[in-house]
């Protein structure tokens, strides 16, 4: 028997997380329960299989990339801190009024960085043509021909690549998205 529901006291370093991520105590409580629900073998850490078990995510064309975003290079499991830090990127920008610096996870800059890193898998600071093609391949699968993929990639690079180095840097990426309301597109409404 015994209760297996965690209370806020069970959330490790809750104050630190509140400061760092801008989530409230009750947000963290719910996310902690969600974390436990996903943690199938109850190790206190999530592995790739735990993420892959979510059917809606498995059906997302770039699901594997999104999963990869949670794992630090070299590590093969995610603890609750890492989990929450990634989710913090999706908080509305205006929510965290305590710390207005660029350090905040849900600043427009950090959101764009997150999106950039989904493209830039080798983390070299540039989205190469090959990397762009890879993303397009994942998004479209067999629905379009190779030629169409090439032409889409060609067009995208031509439009965004301002310094003509055949790759898109983070600055060019930001410029390309300057008309997009990043806050609205990358926002999840966490209920309190």
């Amino acid at each position: 028997m015994g209760s297996n529901k965690s209370s806020v006291q069970n959330v490790p370093d809750v104050q630190e997380l509140i400061q760092e991520t801008g989530f409230s105590a009750s947000h963290l409580q719910r996310l902690y329960e969600r974390f436990h629900l996903l943690d199938r073998d109850q190790m206190g850490r999530l592995r790739v299989q735990d993420f892959e078990a979510i059917p809606e995510l498995a059906g997302n064309p770039i699901g594997d990339r999104i999963i990869g975003a949670f794992f630090y290079p070299g590590k093969d499991s995610v603890d609750f801190h890492d989990f929450v830090r990634v989710l913090a990127h999706f908080q509305p920008t205006d929510s965290n009024t305590k710390r207005k610096s660029e350090e905040v996870y849900n600043s427009p800059n950090r959101k764009l960085q997150f999106a950039f890193q989904l493209y830039d898998q080798d983390q070299d600071g540039k989205i190469s043509r090959a990397e762009l093609l890879q993303v397009l391949q994942e998004l479209l699968g067999i629905e379009v021909t190779d030629e169409q993929l090439q032409s889409i990639a060609e067009r995208a690079i031509k439009e965004a690549d301002l310094d003509q180095d055949d790759a898109i840097s983070f600055e060019e990426f930001k410029k390309s998205l300057e008309k997009v309301d990043v806050n609205r597109k990358m926002r999840i409404g966490f209920l309190s």
Partner: protein, 458 residues
């Protein structure tokens, strides 16, 4: 010395004697009405009293929390995030770029990443396989999140509750259940020995109903049956949503069904063998269960015989937590007979009936059930449905599923219950890719449909 020993001995004897007599009286008090099918209304009174106590308990916790100037943690059964009304991928993309452009944008990835992370935080399927959360506390430790706010008075009440449930109710219920099982095995075997068919079927029905009534009391199940005029008849298949193995007891209490299942060993196997002597049930060997044609044949043979009872099947194939209904497997809908849908909805305040098979084994689960306050549920018999001319079995299954979901107030999901253990198929990802490609390659509105047709023809 001997005098004091003698005294305690006789005191002990007397105590034991009283307890046993009490026990037997209670047992008879409950079994005889069960056999006769009579009810004294004790259970509904018990239920109302409990509800009043739960309200009081939650109120005390709120007061306790207010005193400490804290918020009471209220679990949201609606989820962790506010989801926008289901916007399809296409609509979202079009909103992102305006109807003019249909070219790939670097910003498109924002949309996919948001959807992905949303499903990590809250998805429809994973939460179907964990117990529902309650808004008010029902004095069971297993469903309390606000331990810190329990005052002394509340703790005492809770303690009394524990004593009552584990000290009195649990042993009583276990005794009842054991009696029921023994009676079922013995009487079924005896009835099966009768040569005359008419008498045998009549008696087996009586035995069946009697034993299941005992089981219902063993669980303190308070069931409300609605629309009994639609009860399943011979030559049909009864389908219901599946939350727990107890569903069988809930339904069999009100009518005789032929059960379908795999052959088990041990006590379960003994029960199966005894039951099949008195009336026809469909038990499969493990190897046979995989053979779809064999299964279908046995089902159709059974429904063809109008003397045989309706078959009871749970098409979801797995236990779901009673907030939603998952995909119905089309096997039972291919047989071609009348389908009698039944919706079962449990009230979680008195005890959560959902069997989370990855967390508890069946024995632990039954013990938990028998140490809860009660199992309260509603059963709705829906009007019989038949497959229509142009309908495929899968479409028919979906139609029945929607009817059951809307009657029971459950969410109607398209996901397969098998996702509890297996991974989702590649098809779903391909579908998403297709939708996205249509946004990029296709034209808007009218041109779109025409385009799709062209693409399909080539």
């Amino acid at each position: 010395m001997t005098w004091s020993v003698f005294f305690t001995d006789s005191l002990l004897c007397r105590c034991v004697g009283i307890t046993v007599t009490l026990w037997w009286t209670l047992l008879i008090f409950i079994i005889v009405p069960a056999v006769l099918g009579v009810s004294f209304g004790i259970r509904s009174f018990y239920m109302r009293a409990l509800l009043k106590i739960f309200k009081w308990a939650t109120l005390r916790m709120e007061i306790g929390a207010k005193e400490k100037n804290e918020e009471l943690y209220k679990p949201y059964s609606n989820g962790i995030i506010a989801k926008e009304p289901t916007v399809s991928l296409q609509q979202e993309m079009q909103a992102l770029r305006g109807f003019a452009s249909s070219e790939f944008e670097l910003a498109d990835i924002l949309c996919f990443s948001r959807r992905g992370v949303e499903s990590i935080v809250d998805d429809e399927v994973t939460k179907c396989f964990s117990a529902q959360e309650l808004q008010s506390w029902n004095l069971l430790t297993r469903s309390n999140y606000n331990f810190r706010h329990i005052s002394l008075r509340l703790t005492v009440v809770w303690g009394l509750g524990v004593l009552l449930r584990y000290g009195v109710m649990l042993p009583l219920r276990v005794a009842l259940a054991t009696t029921g099982i023994i009676l079922l095995i013995v009487l079924s075997t005896l009835v099966g020995c009768l040569p005359e068919v008419q008498l045998r079927s009549k008696l087996s029905e009586e035995v069946h109903l009697m034993c299941y009534r005992i089981f219902v009391r063993a669980l303190t199940a308070i069931i409300t049956y609605h629309n009994q005029e639609n009860k399943p008849r011979n030559g049909g298949i009864c389908v219901a949503n599946h939350t727990t193995p107890i569903d069988v007891i809930i339904l069999a209490n009100d009518g005789c069904y032929s059960l379908v299942g795999q052959v088990h060993g041990g006590l379960m196997g003994l029960l199966q063998k005894a039951m099949v002597k008195a009336s026809s049930h469909i038990w499969f060997e493990r190897s046979e269960a995989k053979d779809r044609h064999l299964v279908a044949k046995r089902l159709s043979d059974h429904v063809a015989d109008k003397n045989k009872q309706p078959i009871l099947i749970f098409p979801e194939g797995t236990c779901v937590n009673n907030t939603s209904v998952m995909m119905f497997k089309k096997g039972s809908f291919q047989v071609g007979c009348t389908v009698y849908p039944v919706a079962i909805k449990y009230d979680p305040h008195f005890g959560d009936a959902f069997w989370n098979s990855s967390k508890f084994g069946i024995v632990t689960y039954l013990l938990r059930m028998m140490s809860s306050w009660a199992i309260v549920c509603s059963v709705w018999y829906l009007p019989p449905m038949n497959r229509e001319e142009r309908e495929s079995a899968a479409e028919f299954a979906n139609r029945v599923k929607s009817a059951i979901a809307s009657q029971g107030g459950l969410v109607d999901l398209v996901w397969d219950g098998g996702l509890k253990r297996a991974k989702v198929k590649e098809d779903f990802k391909k579908e998403q890719q297709k939708l996205y490609s249509e946004v990029l390659v296709g034209d808007q509105d009218m041109g779109d449909q025409y385009r799709k047709q062209l693409l399909e023809e080539t």
